[in-house]
Symmetry: C2
Subunit: 66 residues, 2 copies
């Protein structure tokens, strides 16, 4: 299991937290957003899922992943 | 038909716009949020609906109505 923290720009409120965490979940990972730090902590199985796919899912919700 | 503009604090993003406009619609009025001005323009039938009910619906979404 891979643990990584991504910087995410554009999250402003609880709805944004839900969008980002939901997008991460939809691709089969788990994510926990820290809104004040503008980060999301990701856990995923690197044998089944690529980090690029997770980043893409977050970006598809309208946020920039640093 | 009554037209009124309410000040709404706490709206930060497009999700917030949808929440507020959706809450207004749910009670039978129409609302158009201006996110940068932090306002919502409301149209409602004062024979069928009170302004207090609209304010309450917005506040129930977690926003302060000024």
């Amino acid at each position: 299991m891979q643990h990584i923290t991504l910087k995410v720009e554009g999250m402003t409120c609880g709805h944004c937290v839900s969008s980002v965490e939901g997008a991460v979940k939809n691709v089969g990972a788990t994510g926990k957003v820290d809104l004040s730090a503008k980060t999301v902590q990701i856990q995923f199985d690197e044998g089944k899922l690529s980090l690029d796919k997770i980043k893409e899912a977050i970006e598809d919700q309208g946020y920039d992943v640093g």
